[in-house]
């Protein structure tokens, strides 16, 4: 493990350090001097065949940006936990998904978890997927900063034996740096080959979705918890489906229950596997509804939410596709309450009735008074 501290990731690394010092976890840890070095050290370790791990957030993740391409370009099965935190400026140490979504094109798989049990489980799953010789790509496991990183919940922790049965010690299915068979890593293939390297990475990342599903099945067999790339809830007859990622979907589930009790046909689809994006599964889950509300806990300024275009792409080919409305909310750790979800639902219904331009991005939890005071019109 090579890691650099940043709120709200620190708990993860500190806990692992304790385990390593006590001998409970047999590992070496490098207290590197920056996140760029953290990912570089993981690359070095993984390149010789060791299993590598790091964790980061926000600025740290942004700092290691070029190293993420290094990891995926070298096809190294590194796993990283990201405690989602907003990027500065303005400064925030609180949760939003902008940090990891800004890394969506780096050739890493990405998972977004809803609770702490899922965070633990997904790390195990991540290694098994990453090290599969059909994949050999790094994996990012994203958990909401503070909402998941700093709140406690009881979890089932597998025994060492159970974990090792699911995830045996590393046995690299890729060429490593070793004295017996020297290789050169980091050559420049020039135009005749560059494209084909990228094509290979592209198809492997795409196919990784299949491997993920296999590993989800195996995990269910071993531990009794079944995950899916898209986690649907009350979607079978839903007229309105809310799509989003992370811990906020737990609140959405609670709001869906309330609305169902009031007779509203609402459902939700939580995207657990964001890269590779589960286009087929989402189309299956959300395609039959009348309208979809996409919750983006992030924004691409001037354009809108980042999850939104992925959802549009899922539904585009359907002959009778639902309308899709984009919401940007919960930025910088703003709490998403059941009231916010109700507001999202009523806005969505209004769009369905009045047919407002779908190109508009809604900011349901924006403080109108603050905006007015600052002279910003909506």
């Amino acid at each position: 493990m090579a890691a650099y501290p940043i709120t709200p990731q620190t708990e993860i690394v500190e806990t692992l350090y304790k385990s390593i010092s006590s001998g409970e976890l047999k590992a070496y840890a490098i207290p590197v001097e920056s996140e760029h070095s953290a990912m570089s050290a993981c690359v070095g370790a993984s390149a010789v065949g060791a299993r590598a791990f790091t964790a980061s957030s926000s600025q740290g993740l942004a700092l290691m940006h070029e190293c993420l391409f290094l990891a995926s370009g070298f096809r190294l099965p590194i796993v990283m936990a990201v405690a989602n935190r907003a990027l500065s400026q303005p400064v925030s140490i609180m949760c939003d998904h902008g940090d990891s979504l800004a890394q969506r094109d780096t050739g890493w798989l990405q998972f977004y978890v809803e609770n702490c049990q899922e965070a633990l489980d997904t790390i195990l799953i991540a290694y098994r997927v990453a090290e599969d010789e059909r994949v050999l790509l790094p994996v990012m496991v994203c958990l909401d900063g503070f909402f998941l990183s700093h709140l406690s919940e009881p979890v089932e922790i597998p025994t060492s034996a159970e974990a090792e049965a699911f995830l045996p010690p590393p046995d690299p299915h890729y060429p490593t740096l070793n004295l017996k068979k020297p290789i050169i890593l980091g050559a420049m293939p020039y135009p005749p080959y560059h494209n084909e390297f990228q094509y290979d990475k592209h198809v492997c990342l795409e196919y990784a979705g299949t491997v993920v599903r296999e590993v989800f099945d195996r995990f269910a067999k071993d531990f009794g918890r079944k995950y899916n790339p898209v986690e649907p809830y009350q979607t079978d007859d839903a007229e309105l489906i809310i799509v989003g990622m992370g811990s906020m979907m737990g609140t959405v589930r609670h709001a869906v229950n309330q609305m169902r009790r009031a007779g509203k046909k609402v459902g939700l689809a939580r995207i657990k596997m964001y890269r590779p994006f589960p286009y087929g599964e989402l189309a299956e889950v959300a395609g039959k509804s009348d309208i979809v509300a996409v919750l983006d806990r992030d924004v691409s300024p001037g354009t809108g939410g980042i999850l939104y275009p992925d959802v549009l792409r899922s539904l585009y080919a359907l002959s009778d596709r639902p309308k899709v409305v984009n919401f940007v909310l919960g930025l910088g750790g703003r709490d998403i309450s059941p009231l916010t979800v109700e507001k999202v639902v009523s806005e969505t219904r209004r769009v369905k009735k009045t047919g407002l331009s779908e190109k508009e991005t809604f900011w349901p939890d924006a403080n109108i008074n603050t905006l007015k005071a600052w002279g910003i019109s909506e």
Binding site: I30, G44, A50, L70, P182, I183, I184, M188
Partner: protein, 295 residues
């Protein structure tokens, strides 16, 4: 380990070339001469980390190193080294491997400084070798932290005029980290370089060697004169050959009659913009540094 003596003779050097022929570089390149000498000193039980520079394009891309080699990025040789060091330990494979970095002055003194300083401070076991051609030569001759005062580059078109020093003193900085061994070297004194490399890799800790590697394209001299220029650097005191072992500073090649710096400067067109006051200033820099070493 105090004042370990390593005996090296020209005959004693292995015949085997650990660097393949047919690389795609400038003929007469000082850095490749350095790489060849270093590779002979290291042998095949080496894993080399490289940061982007002439020795990436000129050496790695043509398949030259015959031992395992990794080129990561520009600024992370130090951190990749750290990962390889601990990765090998985790796998029980660290013993018997010479872990070495070969990076240029840019990837060492400038953009790579942080990761090198961190790796050294943490005490990883590796030998970090900087081949110094005194500029970003791979990208077409731009100034770096080790470009000497007065040298013309594309980003110092009237001559480098950093206010305080002749160049950034990497060996002093490395020694200030308290590492067990740091040294300068250059290609005109190959046995000195070999002895230092062998000495350094035997030490269980971070070690550093800074090799002056003349670049005719960037410095402005004829391509067959790389070794002569390297020798002139030492004979004028522009480059001092010494080692720092556990804090003790020791010159390894003693110059009895130091030549004036002007002889070195006039031999390279990169110094063609120097005025008399500039040359005097350079002589001053050199005189005060040489005084420290009793040269």
């Amino acid at each position: 380990m105090n004042n370990m003596s390593v005996s090296v003779t020209l005959k004693g050097l292995p015949d085997e070339e650990v660097i393949a022929p047919g690389r795609s570089g400038c003929p007469g390149c000082g850095a490749v001469i350095a790489a060849r000498i270093i590779s002979k000193a290291l042998g095949r039980n080496t894993i080399m980390v490289n940061s982007t520079g002439c020795m990436t394009v000129n050496y790695a891309y043509s398949g030259a190193p015959l031992f395992p080699f990794i080129h990561g990025l520009f600024e992370n040789a130090g951190s990749i080294l750290s990962g390889v060091d601990y990765g090998l330990r985790a796998l029980g494979l660290r013993e018997g491997v010479n872990l070495v970095a070969l990076s240029g002055d840019g990837g060492t003194a400038d953009i790579g400084f942080q990761s090198l300083s961190g790796a050294v401070e943490r005490g990883h076991r590796f030998l970090y070798i900087c081949y110094d051609n005194e500029g970003y030569m791979n990208t077409g001759i731009q100034r770096s932290g080790t470009t000497p005062y007065g040298a013309v580059t594309t980003t110092s078109p009237t001559g480098e005029r950093r206010p305080m020093q002749l160049r950034k003193d990497m060996v002093k900085i490395m020694a200030a980290h308290g590492i067990p061994y740091a040294a300068t070297a250059t290609i005109a004194y190959p046995l000195d370089l070999v002895r230092k490399v062998k000495k350094a890799v035997a030490i269980d800790g971070p070690t550093y060697i800074h090799v002056l590697s003349p670049c005719w394209a960037g410095w402005g001299f004829s391509e067959n004169l790389s070794v002569k220029i390297s020798k002139l650097a030492v004979l004028t005191g522009m480059w001092i050959l010494y080692e720092v072992e556990n804090g003790t500073v020791r010159p390894t090649v003693k110059i009895t009659q130091r030549k004036p710096v002007e002889e070195y400067l006039k031999a390279q067109s990169r110094f063609s913009q120097l005025t008399k006051p500039d040359i005097d200033r350079i002589q001053q820099f050199v005189d005060s540094k040489c005084k420290e070493f009793g040269i």
